[in-house]
């Protein structure tokens, strides 16, 4: 079972780097939705914990991250009519390299962490850390509001992977609550994106500096 889980996590890590390296926003959305879908499968792979509540949480995550949120984002994109992230603060290749560096660092770092025995073997902890870092890189280097949302989603995915360590002990209510939070956050951001677009005729968040007092 563990080999399958590890393979899945390696795919997730690869998706991270892919998301960093592309300029087409549609591709980023699709990559992140694929990542969300794969992450939703993880609880099903960790059979020893599988119960009806884990199945429900996993189904909810797949539905939300794999379908609903990408759908909302694609609609938002259609409304504001943009296709590409034109001017990132750091180029696509350098940010990809930075992501690779962060992944390596996460692997090294998690070796040094004092983890419980059953958590050391799978790639869960390093994958979580690496995904969080990649989310941060996306958030800090991209200028368009939609890509920022993608960065936020990747960050959340990283936290979700970390949550897998607690699978079985975390109550269903908490997991559903997290998913609901995510949904509401993205929902609100979509509305804000529309407003930013109307007010500044652009989605460049750097323009928001004009609001500084």
């Amino acid at each position: 079972m563990n080999p399958l889980l590890n393979a899945l996590l390696v795919v997730v890590l690869a998706l991270n780097l892919f998301a960093l390296g592309t300029s087409r926003i549609v591709t980023v959305i699709k990559l992140v939705s694929l990542q969300g879908f794969l992450l939703g499968l993880i609880p099903l792979l960790m059979e020893e914990h599988l119960g009806w509540s884990a199945t429900l949480a996993s189904g909810g995550a797949i539905l939300l991250k794999g379908a609903i949120i990408p759908f909302m984002m694609l609609r938002a994109m259609r409304d504001v009519q943009i296709k590409r992230e034109m001017e990132p603060l750091i180029g696509f290749l350098p940010s990809m390299l930075l992501g690779a560096l962060a992944t390596g660092f996460a692997l090294l770092f998690s070796k040094a962490l004092p983890l419980a025995g059953e958590h050391t073997t799978p790639l869960l902890v390093p994958a979580a850390l690496a995904t969080i870092f990649v989310g941060f890189i996306l958030l800090t280097t991209r200028a368009k509001a939609i890509t920022q949302v993608m960065g936020y989603l990747v960050l959340e995915n990283g936290i979700y992977i970390f949550g897998m360590l607690l699978l079985g002990t975390m109550p269903l209510v908490v997991e559903l609550g997290v998913l609901l939070d995510l949904f509401v956050a993205v929902f609100v951001i979509c509305i804000i994106i529309n407003h930013i677009n109307q007010a500044f005729s652009s989605l460049d968040t750097r323009r928001l500096v004009a609001l500084k007092e």
């Binding site: 770092f109 040094a112 280097t141 991209r142 968040t205 750097r206 500096v209 500084k212």
Partner: protein
């Protein structure tokens, strides 16, 4: 007996809750509803009366009673208690707001102030209830909650007329000052918890304190509570806030709320062991400086309420001097110092709350008629408002510490205490002798100050045109003032009435090892004072009646005061409030820094010119505001961090997360 005393404390708690909630029902009525205001007043009166009942049932805190309940907050308990010291301060809390809200029924009619009438009523009760809770609480968390309740209620009350820029400015200064004080209190209570091991306010064992900690606790107490009490130079918020608040609010703020600062100092110093003489000397010196500067600043004011606010600072100074003397007594184990110093200070707390409230309500009456606080625009009111003038005169005599009124009684106790220390002949306490001189100077200057007010406001002729005929106020405004004046007379002639309670309160500062505590009555022979006061009153009243009859019989036609035999005198030829004290102001210009703009006269026939003088608060204008401006300029450099770009802010978070990871893993 035990049962009754517990019940008394519960009654007082009920009174506190009644006061806090007194303004709530009125919120469900219309903005202009006078019924709503009457309802609020009724609740405040009810709460205060229940409070008095509770005080009597608990026999004024002797023996001590307490209640401890658990609550849902993570720290502390709901722990309240009553002792004699608390009872001393609860008496004004349950008296002045009651009279003030009664006064407000006519002074601040909700039908004329629909924009803030209900809010004012609500906050008035909150202020009174908050103060009661401050006195009751025996737990630092509860104390701080009550303290903030009181401070914030006062902030909104002082800013009632927030459409005026001046009021808003005074409100901000108050807010900054009160929170600067609260910061010190937070530090104080944290340190106290370290030392005593809990949030309960309980006596600290002398053995557990190093001298450094003891000094820190003492300094934090004086500064933290000094902000509220108005000790120099922490008084900066006081004149503005008192001048701009509605008068019945100023009466409570000055008469009762400042005393909460004094209460805090006394409460914390009751818990701390005081063994060093310098503690008392510092407090005595701070009190003397506060008193002297307070009255000097007061003399220079032309705004009647600002003047009274400075005079409150002066009285706080006198009270603080009494406390300083008592602290010296504690360090030297001299029971007579403690008895006279603390007894005088506590009696002055009562007295000041009586006559300063009376004077503030009086000032409100004058403003109600003339719509100005500027004394240079008043004058001649004694003829049109005889009752107000008489009550003001009585309050002024009391506040100057002249016999036979109550100010004399308390100041005399402090004088006696200071004389005792001179008697003692110990060279180490020479400061105390200086303090006697300071107290005498304060008294003389206070007299000058109130002669200035009375003569400019009530004597002479009106200096500015008055709309309508000035009249004495309605009974609703008059009765509270009459009651306060009655209190001044009773406590002036028979201060012994309060002695049993004062004796019990003072006993809390005595060590069990101290020599036998003398009775206050035996140290200060007040039977004599009472007798002399009666004789004096009879002589004054009799003499006035005789003279009056004679004058009325022989009186020529009435003329304007200070007419000086001019053929065509005008009201502009009178002494103004400014000119009356010109000499004193120039004598103290090295501390007052008056701003005088006068024209340079060079030609033989000079053209028309202007002259103006103004005395802003020197501490605020010359020290605090420049310091804040400089700090503001320096802080602008930090704006560099605030770029306004989300990406940068996220980078901050990322770098801190990485830093923490690094720290956790590898340390430094």
């Amino acid at each position: 007996m035990e049962y009754e005393i517990q019940n008394g404390l519960k009654l007082i708690l009920a009174a506190t809750i009644l006061l806090i909630a007194s303004g709530l029902p009125a919120c469900f009525f219309g903005r202009k509803s006078m019924f709503a205001q009457r309802l609020t007043t009724a609740f405040i009166v009810l709460g205060s009366l229940v409070g008095w009942w509770g005080l009597v049932a608990a026999s004024f805190g002797t023996p001590v009673s307490s209640i401890v309940w658990d609550w849902h907050l993570p720290a502390g308990h709901f722990s309240i208690g009553l002792d004699a010291l608390g009872a001393v301060f609860l008496i004004p809390v349950f008296t002045i707001p009651m009279l003030g809200s009664f006064y407000g029924l006519s002074y601040w009619r909700q039908s004329e102030h629909p924009e803030n009438g209900r809010g004012l009523g609500l906050l008035y009760g909150l202020l009174a209830g908050g103060m009661a809770l401050v006195v009751l609480s025996r737990d630092s968390i509860l104390f701080l909650i009550a303290w903030e309740l009181m401070a914030m209620a006062a902030f909104f009350l002082a800013g009632a007329e927030d459409e005026k820029a001046e009021v808003r400015r005074a409100g901000w200064i108050y807010l900054v000052a009160t929170h600067a004080g609260t910061v010190c209190l937070l530090a104080l209570f944290c340190l106290l918890r370290q030392v005593s091991g809990g949030f309960t306010l309980s006596a600290v064992d002398a053995g557990s304190l190093t001298s450094g900690i003891a000094t820190t606790l003492f300094v934090l107490t004086i500064i933290g509570f000094g902000f509220k009490a108005g000790l120099m130079p922490l008084h900066v918020w006081l004149p503005g806030a008192h001048a701009n608040a509605p008068s019945h609010v100023s009466a409570v703020m000055s008469g009762v709320m400042l005393k909460m600062g004094i209460y805090g100092i006394l409460r914390i110093l009751t818990l701390l062991p005081v063994t060093e003489v310098w503690n008392g000397e510092v407090v005595l010196a701070v009190g003397a400086v506060t008193g002297l500067l307070g009255i000097i600043f007061a003399i220079a004011q032309n705004d009647i309420k600002r003047l009274m606010a400075y005079s409150s600072i002066e009285n706080i100074g006198i009270i603080t001097m009494g406390i300083g003397l008592a602290l010296i007594g504690r360090a030297l184990h001299r029971t007579d110092f403690i008895l006279l110093g603390l007894g005088g200070a506590l009696l002055h707390v009562w007295n000041h709350s009586l006559f300063k409230s009376l004077l503030f309500l009086n000032a409100g009456t004058i403003m109600h008629v003339l719509h100005t606080r500027e004394m240079n625009r008043m004058g001649g009111l004694a003829k049109t408002m005889p009752v107000t003038a008489g009550l003001f005169l009585l309050g002024a005599v009391a506040i100057c510490g002249l016999p036979p009124l109550n100010g004399f009684a308390s100041e005399w106790l402090i004088y006696l205490g200071l004389y005792h220390s001179v008697d003692a002949g110990s060279g180490s306490i020479w400061t105390v002798g200086v303090a006697t001189v300071a107290l005498a100077a304060i008294g003389a200057l206070a007299l000058a100050c109130f002669v200035k007010i009375y003569s400019t406001v009530f004597l002479g002729t009106a200096r500015a045109p008055v709309h309508g005929q000035p009249r004495d106020p309605s009974p609703l405004m008059r009765y509270p003032m009459l009651l306060l004046a009655g209190g001044c007379i009773v406590l002036g002639i028979l201060p012994q009435l309060g002695f049993p309670l004062l004796q019990n309160a003072v006993a809390q500062w005595m060590e069990p090892t101290d020599p036998a505590v003398p009775l206050l009555l035996s140290v200060a022979p007040f039977q004599w004072i009472s007798g002399m006061a009666m004789v004096f009153i009879v002589l004054v009243v009799g003499g006035t009646m005789l003279l009056r009859r004679k004058i009325v019989r022989q009186a020529p036609e009435p003329m304007g005061t200070w007419g000086c035999g001019y053929a065509q005198p005008t009201e502009r030829m009178q002494y103004t409030a400014t000119s009356f004290v010109e000499m004193l102001v120039s004598l103290f210009r090295w501390v007052l820094f008056p701003r005088i703009r006068r024209p340079a006269i060079s030609a033989t026939f000079p053209a028309k010119a202007d002259f103006s003088t103004e005395v802003p608060d020197p501490v605020l204008e010359r020290v605090i505001l420049p310091a804040f401006r400089q700090a503001g300029r320096n802080m602008m450099k930090l704006r560099l961090l605030q770029q306004g770009r989300i990406q940068i802010y996220l980078l901050y978070i990322l770098s801190i997360v990485l830093f923490l990871l690094y720290w956790e893993q590898w340390g430094f």
